[in-house]
Symmetry: C2
Subunit: 326 residues, 2 copies
DNA sequence: CTGAAAGCGCTTACAG
DNA sequence: CTGAAAGCGCTTACAG
């Protein structure tokens, strides 16, 4: 049982491969008799014909694969949701998602040259050199990035604003001395630093002292140490890098014999399922992953000339979900 | 700046494309002068030559893409880790991972026929028809599946054993009336049912009554309702589908004014970061995702004749991590 | 309105 | 030891 080709469909339909190609690609500029069209379509379906992706790619110099480059750290549930949405949205246009997890400093160029994707979606900042080379080769590059990326076609979630939102919320709860619970994982440092910058800026804006910054491991002992340090420094509000760190801080506060939010208020980022059922329920920053995914998908389709409409930047990208911990 | 082809390398090196192909594919059965070999290698590097994946795929009828089929629900952090490991392990052999998230009942056949992957990795059970068609087309199919899959080349995490482990642990803590906290999400029903079956079997083995089964939403109210029901039924130990459900149960116990583990012991599955810092710290079943990923990668490479050694089934696939909640 | 022919970039029998 | 030629499956000018 070898592969069914367009030649098979042509022979069975009594037409040439050219005609088969015209029919199957629904070329509007070519006029065909309806009878021929129907016959070819019917034969293709009956034979279970699927065009060979490699052959099309070789012919056109462009595959129908979208190369999706991920950072080598896990963003958590967000990345799952994002990929899920992207895969679905792109599949509707016949595009498949090829996931590449970026490891070490191995150059991206080998991969994209080999795969000849029709577009590249970066969920992390590329090296400038890689991006330029891809654009030169005519491959649209769309990406999510950190806030100060200068590319106009890059959708950046303003990480600093997330920190600002956290700080503003703590201030609205009457907290005047803040701390930042940083992650210990260096791989997320780029994100953590920008969120911290947002907290810093907000403190300055509100005329508060600089926030105390402490790295917190995801265990009770580490968090309790941090909490004791902050308490000694008069801290009454803690902005955590994400919900996992925030949950560790909650545990640290308990271990230190203090009360949330009485002694110290805590706010995270992500709204993971565990946040809602924490003790006390964790206030957090919710991110509209769906909207971000939809934006990226549309931006990508637009870059390929496949979108119905240009992408609309989502406006409510994130907001505070107030709960008992603040 | 158009693509660098093997013809370019041939011309620059003063040899034929045949020779270039022989050198670059390091064919052991062909003897070439070392000088020629070096010259070709050097030219290829200087020109930045990358063989066209589509062209190779068209020629050989097989791409270097591994199609990885995921279920349409998110398994959580486990899937991230798994993909991460797989991508890395396969990249060492020049293989790329193409992720496909299964949606609805759309047939898999279109995708694999179009992509012509060199292998398919299923992280969910396939339809028997799809699997047979792929095997007939000569595409190795490797997969993780639920426990009672009959295929010998399928690596199945025995889901029922996870439930059994949970129940055994609760019994070892002196609990004689158990409940099962099931997820509300139908998409994970296949997993949940098998884990529950394991709990049931363990209860029978220990001469305990049938476990009470209640679906628990990931919020306090739903969990509190469930807890009150169980308490009225004399339940003293709860096995939860996963850690997220278990954390909800902890919150429900608190809301119901009861004590963990005094009144009721709780055990989850996954060991997510939040489990360790929960109040009280959550006992859970740890799964060796790394080992599973390594096994799958090796099994896949073996099926392709690329592995150094046949895969060794990991033995410690999971074990209980005892903490304060039991 | 439809077909014969070329060519995308690669590898591999087959000759020299 | 190396080269000329064919062919993987597709699409698209170019002729009829």
């Amino acid at each position: 049982m070898s592969r069914v080709t367009s030649a098979d469909v042509a022979r069975e339909s009594g037409v040439s491969r050219t005609t088969v190609s015209y029919v199957l690609n629904a070329r509007a500029d070519v006029v065909l008799t309806e009878a021929t069209r129907q016959r070819v379509l019917e034969t293709a379906a009956r034979l279970g014909y699927t065009p060979s992706a490699p052959a099309r790619a070789l012919r056109s110099g462009r595959s129908d694969l979208v190369l999706c480059v991920l950072p080598d750290w896990t963003i958590g549930p967000a990345i799952d949701t994002l990929l899920d949405h992207l895969t679905t949205a792109l599949a509707e246009h016949g595009l498949s998602v090829l996931v590449h997890i970026r490891r070490g400093a191995r150059p991206l160029s080998d991969l994209w040259r080999a795969v000849t994707p029709c577009a590249v979606l970066g969920l992390l900042p590329f090296g400038e050199q890689d991006a330029r080379a891809m654009r030169q080769a005519g491959i649209p590059v769309v990406g999510a990035a950190l806030d100060e990326d200068p590319q106009p076609d890059v959708f950046a979630v303003p990480q600093a604003s997330i920190g600002g939102l956290q700080a503003d919320h703590l201030v609205s709860r009457g907290r005047r001395v803040l701390a930042y619970a940083a992650p210990h994982d260096d791989r997320v440092a780029a994100f953590a630093d920008r969120r911290l910058a947002g907290v810093r800026a907000a403190c300055e804006r509100h005329g508060l002292p600089e926030p105390l910054v402490t790295a917190v491991d995801l265990d009770v002992a580490s968090a309790a140490d941090a909490v004791r340090g902050w308490h000694a420094g008069g801290v009454t509000g803690v902005a955590a890098y994400n919900d996992e760190v925030a949950l560790a801080v909650l545990a640290g506060v308990r271990a230190a014999g203090l009360d949330v939010p009485g002694d110290v208020a805590v706010i995270g980022v992500d709204d993971i399922p565990a946040a809602r059922v924490a003790a006390p329920a964790l206030t957090t920053v919710w991110q509209a992953i769906d909207a971000q995914a939809a934006y990226l998908a549309t931006a990508l389709l637009a870059a390929l000339g496949l979108a119905d409409a240009p992408p609309e930047r989502p406006d409510d990208v994130f907001h505070v979900v107030p709960r008992a911990s603040t």
